[in-house]
Amino acid sequence: MPTPDYDWTQHRWAFGVDATKCIGCLRCVEACKRENDVPLTAHHFRTWVERYVYLEGEERPRIDSHHDPVNIAASGSEKEYRFANRYKDAKVEKAFFVPKLCNHCTHPACVQVCPVGATYKTPDGVVLIDHKYCIGCRYCVQACPYGARYFIEEKGVSDKCTWCYHRITKGLQPACVEVCPVGARIFGDLNEKQSPISQFIRNNRVQVLKPETGNAPNVFYVGIDREVN
């Protein structure tokens, strides 16, 4: 939880993803699972990585992630995450990885639909869930266009990425950002002109996912194509 001297009115957090850098090592996924006690299954993720592969002669990409049975078989367990080397014999025209997470939208549909106000947007721009107040109706899971939310059966509540709120309010980076070996994940305060995220947005032509929803996401992407949504 935030330290007593943390003033949430003084920050405006945002997240950047440079898909051109991501190597699909999945250290971010592993770190997130452990840092945030996310169920160790291939069906519950606060953050995940998608693989897009365009094969020669095919118009649409083949997309997969950790819930794909082939990838589960490659890792040998639902508790570990790996991309199977399934295209080693294929002629690959283009391929890239896309890290995904909650977009902490400016107009979050999940917050709008929560019947009891258990999920809310903080003044520093983070969408959180009060697990002690959530009734477990899962309306928020349905409302999120990005599939960022899941339900924890054991706890009877919805859950999702918090940008590691317990860390960022202490001056630390989110776990996934901290472990990324290539700097594909960027996090910072938009109120600070020289913060990594401010520079990332200023120096790149960024885009957001599903802008047509009007949710106004706060995760900014570089290096994705139109098939990513």
């Binding site: 639909v113 258990a118 899962r138 899941y150």
Partner: protein, 401 residues
């Protein structure tokens, strides 16, 4: 707990978190029984407010049916919640921007309205039984009189006035309750299959036909059980009502589907693949062809030919059963169908209905059957049959206190 989680098989590309289908058959049953409440109330109102005299034999049965189903409306939701003990938060701290937040208020208001209207409608019977019976049952009826034993003409006129105004208030109440269920789905922009302005109207009209169809079945079965002749005028009145509303329901459902296909927004290819594949039988065959078009044609034929007697009874009851199936399939195709189409617009999932468990098939069947058993029990105490509820004007009761 892991064995309670069932991962949905998928084809194409779906988000990892989507592989747990969160809204189960319990959420299918919820709008189904809410719709039956609204539809049954419509029948009651057609008589009480709009003076459809033909429907008099089922007016009280409709009211009791609506009440009995309403008792069970919150149950599928409570069974579904991760923390049912916190459900009261919905009433204590409603989050006003949520379409779901007003449910508690709508439902509470409507259940109170139904209880009060039922009390007024059955007051003559309650008073009569309170004066006639002794023992536990007598005490039960005496408590139910709430101390009001006045069956004078003036008092009964007063009762009728209350019933009339409560029925008027109940029309927006019942239909608002159900239209709002449609809004819960239609207002979500995350799923193309749900996101439709027509959804509340689609839910509402399908609710009306399901409630009227249920009344047809209940009326015919109750007459058979009681070994009394079926009032063919009443049955025809119900058949005309279904016939009229089914056309509107079909039109709206057709328009909604046509809108999705014609607009052809991103992901429409997946929807086309879905409706022409896994949803072909549940959607086109069961919901539309067998459940709506067939009864519409059958009813039209009977109306055109002036069918009467046993053929009318069999034909109308059969059509009503098909309509009940159609509306259930409509709920299924919306709730489950919506979740089987991935939010990515690039993949499909498959929901596996569990047999056991609090959100399984057995519980779902019990949730639909329980209101009928309750109705059977309540109809013993408050018989909704015409002769039992006719206001008594015997001097022994008039003015008694």
């Amino acid at each position: 707990m892991d064995h309670f989680i069932h991962y949905a098989p998928f084809t194409g590309w779906v988000y990892p978190n989507e592989t747990v289908i969160e809204w189960s058959v319990a959420i299918v049953v919820y709008p189904y029984i809410t719709g039956l409440v609204a539809g049954a109330f419509t029948v009651s109102s057609l008589y009480q407010v709009f003076g459809f005299q033909r429907l008099k034999p089922v007016a009280h049965l409709a009211l009791l049916t609506s009440l009995c189903f309403m008792f069970f409306v919150p149950l599928p939701l409570l069974l579904h919640l991760g923390h049912p003990e916190r459900a009261v938060n919905n009433l204590l701290t409603p989050h006003v921007t949520s379409a779901m937040a007003m449910f508690g208020y709508f439902a509470s208001f409507y259940i109170v309205l139904l209880l009060v209207e039922t009390w007024f409608a059955f007051r003559p019977h309650i008073v009569e039984q309170a004066q006639k019976r002794t023992g536990l049952l007598g005490t039960f009826y005496r408590v139910l009189t709430l101390g009001s034993y006045d069956l004078s003409e003036k008092a009964l006129r007063y009762d009728k006035k209350w019933i009339f105004w409560l029925a008027i208030a109940g029309i927006p109440g019942a239909h608002g309750l159900h239209g709002y269920v449609g809004f819960v789905f239609g207002s979500l922009k995350s799923r193309e299959w749900w996101s439709s302005d027509l959804m509340p109207a689609v839910f509402l009209f399908s609710a009306i036909i399901s409630g009227v169809a249920l009344l047809i079945v209940l009326y015919v079965v109750s007459c058979l059980l009681r070994r009394i002749p079926i009032d063919l005028g009443c049955l025809k009145g119900l058949a005309y009502t279904v016939w009229g509303f089914i056309m509107v329901a079909l039109l709206l459902e057709g328009l909604e589907f046509a809108n999705i296909i014609y607009k052809g927004r991103e992901g429409v290819e997946m929807i086309v693949e879905y409706v022409s594949g896994p949803l072909l039988i549940p959607y086109f065959i069961l919901q539309f062809a067998v459940g709506a078009i067939l009864p519409l044609l059958l009813l039209s034929y009977m109306i055109w030919r002036g069918t009467t007697g046993r053929a009318l009874i069999v034909g109308v009851t059969f059509s009503a059963c098909l309509v009940l199936l159609s509306v259930f399939m409509m709920r299924w195709n919306v709730v489950i169908g919506g979740q089987e189409i991935s939010k990515t617009g690039k993949g499909l999932l498959t929901y596996h209905l569990q047999v056991l468990g609090k959100e399984g098939l057995i519980v779902a069947i019990l949730l639909v059957v329980a209101p009928l058993i309750t109705l059977l029990g309540i109809s013993r105490l408050l018989p909704p049959w015409e002769e039992s509820t006719a206001p008594s004007s015997s001097p022994a009761h008039a003015g008694a206190r």
